[in-house]
Symmetry: C2
Subunit: 203 residues, 2 copies
């Protein structure tokens, strides 16, 4: 993207992120969930948020509910709008992480290039977590009835049915949400967070 903004000067007095991290007792960063509709993104995001919050973490979920009704309310579901939606989420997630939060992003984000752009926005604190479940499994669950609508042709470009899902090639973590319980999946991710966001010696 060409940056249009000019006459912007940088300021040096920001509280540095490592100072924020020390105060919070954990690093900030992005847990970028990606997976099909029905792969468990929302369920796992909110369960994980609750568990981390109860342990004293600064943690926040970005999902369709708080993004699509606000920041991205001007965007639809065309390929260009989806791309712009994911770009904005990547930027917002990077701000939250820089502010010291563990940000859980719960969007299908089907395209590798879009996820790569989100990673670039956050640099070294981006953790791609692939919630792996096949279309058949997700379609059986169909928690929002979207697969049914998609099969009836009521939703164009539906990921997994009429639009592609590009699985991550090198994610930081793969969670098998097809065969493992919610509890097991959450524990997998909690283990990952403990390893990667909490300093080795005390909190």
């Amino acid at each position: 993207m060409v940056q249009k903004s000019t006459n912007i000067t940088s300021v040096e007095h920001r509280v540095p992120r490592d100072v924020r991290w020390k105060a919070n007792g954990h690093r900030g960063g992005i847990l970028w969930f990606t997976g099909l509709s029905g792969s468990g993104k929302t369920t796992l995001a909110f369960e994980l948020e609750k568990r981390l919050f109860d342990r004293g973490f600064q943690v926040y979920v970005l999902d369709g509910d708080n993004i699509r009704h606000g920041l991205s309310a001007d965007l639809g579901f065309s390929p260009a709008d989806r791309q712009e939606n994911i770009r904005r989420i990547g930027e917002v997630a990077a701000l939250f992480a820089g502010a010291g939060n563990i940000t859980i992003s719960a969007f299908i984000s089907p395209y590798r290039e879009d996820r790569r752009q989100a990673r670039r926005a956050a640099d070294d604190i981006f953790h791609e977590i692939y919630l792996n479940a096949d279309v058949e499994t997700c379609e059986k669950r169909d928690p929002k009835g979207l697969y049914k609508k998609a099969r009836r042709g009521e939703i164009p470009d539906f990921t997994g049915i009429s639009a592609p899902y590009e699985a991550p090639e090198n994610p930081e973590l793969i969670v098998d949400t097809r065969s493992r319980s919610v509890e097991q999946c959450v524990n997998d991710i909690l283990g990952y967070v403990e390893q990667n966001f909490v300093p080795a010696k005390g909190r």
Copy 2:
């Protein structure tokens, strides 16, 4: 704005904001600074952030540096782009506040209607703080050399010179940054925060 997004379902398991506020020991909310270029927005925002951070608050500044290079990098300075920029900042500030942070927004935001829209995005936790200094004072300071450029005609639609600034009609707080020192101004705002963000009995 017409909301284009459909097929979005709400989820009920989010950690409620009042539970976050209790854990942090203070409310979340938005300190929406508005004022001319040179009125002290950036200086006061970062000084206030440091002081609040040192007191243990979750606090974060949104400003040109972290917004214009990222989330709004696709926007220029046309009236429509400025409006969209402020809209996005209002939405992001509301997310941060909902996550428990005191969000300090440091943008000129010259139009009443744009600020009203930002207030609507955040509902009851939006605090408009007018950094009041006249154009002559700001132009004398000219910390970024922008007034000089504007006078030479190098910056079109420059607020206070060739574009209007609509002063707040009913702001939550007015800070006279023309005659008062940085220290005095910061203390004014700190007092306001203590009164409005900290529960009366202990933290």
